[in-house]
Symmetry: C2
């Protein structure tokens, strides 16, 4: 069971913590009011909050116990919740889902070798695809937390400065609006300023994972990013899934990562099964074709650096983490064209337009397009749900 956590509201109730069960949402405060958490000694008020932060701050041992309790209740052949279904279960269709986290700081990594290599092949064709630092450390930059929105929020095409055809700066709506398929890592435990988190302790700081779309305006990004990195090309919006999958739910899909050669510095030396076998898919819905078109399918196993390495790197200089911080992996691409995690790669920087079933083509996103990311591991009954966003025209 995935049992992801999110924040929902109904016409009758303000935003609060719920757990997704197929087409229903379990209201955790109501479960608590029935006495099912009475022996666990925590304040049910953590479930009546508009974000998960206070719940996550209970700490991993207690959160794990609550999850175990829910699994026991749902698996109990006597179905102890059934008698209270009207009280604890809400039809998901009757709810509104909210951004589940108050995000403090947001960091985006660049952890997929195929993605970083593809970008290098496109923009530095004469050189090695990977820059010299890439296999020695997980490259990252800080992103914008204020503009992270929940799945379903429309995305307005950003305006900004970029180089026109004559290589002179112009201002206008981006002509190269792209998505980036990523996983987000929700931090559930604070670290202390000045104190690194070791790679072996790092997973203790992870509450769970989400699907994440780091919308990108490639033309704006290309003009602005030297020498300090992306800014307006990224910070107009990012979208995250409403459901946070607790790390514990992923134990059954843990796998070994790729061999890391050269061997990274000791503070990055990880081990064990710290990668995840999760199918990730990108679908596009256009104004002319209401049917969804799958434009990419890949897998989280294509990440080079694992979650523990990202956290160990982030904190090795003493940088502190807070509950609610978000780390994202960067675009996840596989090795074949059908497995790339951005239109930049899928259309090879606009030089190889995708032909859609209705005969239309895409290099980058057009107004009215809806982009949907999904993630799952079917045999293991793990479902990340989706993150979707429709592109509205600039105003």
């Amino acid at each position: 069971m995935t049992l992801p956590y999110g924040i929902f509201s109904t016409d009758d109730s303000s935003p609060r913590v719920g757990v997704r069960l197929d087409n229903q949402i379990l209201d955790l405060e109501m479960v608590g009011r029935l006495g099912f958490f009475d022996d666990l000694s925590f304040d049910l008020a953590v479930f009546k909050k508009p974000v998960l932060n206070d719940f996550m701050a209970l700490g991993k041992p207690l959160c794990r116990t609550i999850r175990r309790r829910l699994i026991d209740l749902l698996n109990d052949p006597e179905k102890p919740l059934d008698a209270f279904a009207d009280f604890v279960l809400i039809d998901a269709k009757a709810t509104t889902l909210h951004l589940p986290i108050h995000i403090g700081d947001y960091t985006d990594f660049y952890a997929s070798e195929e993605h970083a290599s593809n970008v290098g092949r496109m923009f530095r064709p004469q050189a090695e695809p990977l820059l010299p630092n890439w296999k020695h450390l997980p490259v990252a930059y800080h992103g914008r937390a204020s503009s992270i929105v929940v799945s379903g929020t429309p995305i307005k095409r950003p305006k900004g400065p970029f180089l026109g055809l004559d290589q002179q700066p112009v201002f206008g709506p981006s002509n190269a609006l792209d998505f980036e398929l990523e996983l987000g890592i929700v931090i559930g435990k604070p670290s202390t300023l000045g104190e690194p988190v070791s790679v072996n302790d790092a997973e203790d700081y992870v509450f769970g994972l989400v699907l994440f779309n780091d919308w990108s305006a490639r033309d704006i990004q290309r003009w602005e990013y030297q020498p300090l990195g992306p800014f307006l090309g990224k910070n107009f919006a990012s979208s995250m899934s409403p459901w946070v999958v607790p790390l514990e739910a992923l134990d059954s899909v843990r796998i070994d990562g790729p061999k890391q050669e050269p061997t990274p510095l000791p503070y990055l030396q990880s081990g064990g099964r710290r990668h995840f076998d999760l199918t990730l898919e990108v679908a596009l819905q256009t104004p002319d074709s209401p049917d969804e078109i799958v434009i990419s399918q890949t897998n989280a196993r294509h990440l080079y650096w694992d979650v523990a390495q990202l956290i160990a790197h982030h904190t090795v200089n003493g940088c502190n983490l807070n509950v609610g911080d978000l780390l994202a992996t960067g675009t996840i691409s596989g090795s074949t064209p059908g497995s790339y995690g951005s239109l930049l790669e899928l259309s090879w920087n606009g030089t190889r337009p995708l032909t859609l079933p209705d005969g239309s083509t895409r290099t980058f996103l057009q107004d009215g397009d809806t982009l949907i990311l999904r993630g799952w591991a079917n045999e293991k009954r793990i479902d990340f749900g989706e993150v979707r966003g429709k592109i509205n025209a600039s105003t």
Copy 2:
């Protein structure tokens, strides 16, 4: 009068809002309890908070009225506060000062032409000092909010990966720990996601300015920063002054900015007196020389882009601002070696060590060094106070 706002506590009182008056702090809640704000219709609870955010969120018209009221009270020849001095005035020496803002997102710009040119001359000696985009837009990157600390907080020398003498990656304490002299801009009004703030409205979003030290580990930064910008080289700590100078206090030092050539795109076309004539100074105190040594003196007038332009650029793509966001200018350097705002420039990347009065030298900061930034405009009775930090050894 500067009348900067900050957060103080005493042995008897929890952190709360105060205004600095030379050697004393005015307790604003107490002033309110005496009835001096009774006609202004706001909840005095905003002054009993451990950060200024709720006070700032009252909005600029009301904050401006409160400031005007304080000036009137302090200038009143009948000295209406004197009878209540024990009640409203606290000896600054008996207080602890706190980080005055809950910072949501932190953005650092690169807005000083001399600084950007010096960096270019050092690292790209064969090329034009400024990159092609620099005069067309205010280059910026997102920084880390969680590790921003108040003046006086010791700074632990960060460890991290960098290239050793043989150009192989090594891990250890930074050998090139630097400061950056900056001004910080505290946002006091939220903007809406998807809605740009025009350059002419931008100053309405500014509550005030602070002194800011963006500590930097140059060796770590140099190895990591391609292609996405600085990360571990910056995010271990930044320091800000405890006192926020309201924008209104700076009206008397407003000046025209430099001529901007080429003319920037229309969304950046500013005008009027939007730069500030503020003296900025950097002092160093070493373990061997208890006397402070002034190592640089410069002026905020050396910024190329003005505050309104920074905000217009930041939001032109729809990126939203929240109350408590911090924007920093980037290192402020003048055109002469004695006016550079970083040791990177003052020691020309370590090639021209500074000789101190006791005969010792510095390229970058050593353990036990204390670095102090100050800002003022004497004739105008404006004083930013200071931001200081002592370097502790790595552990």
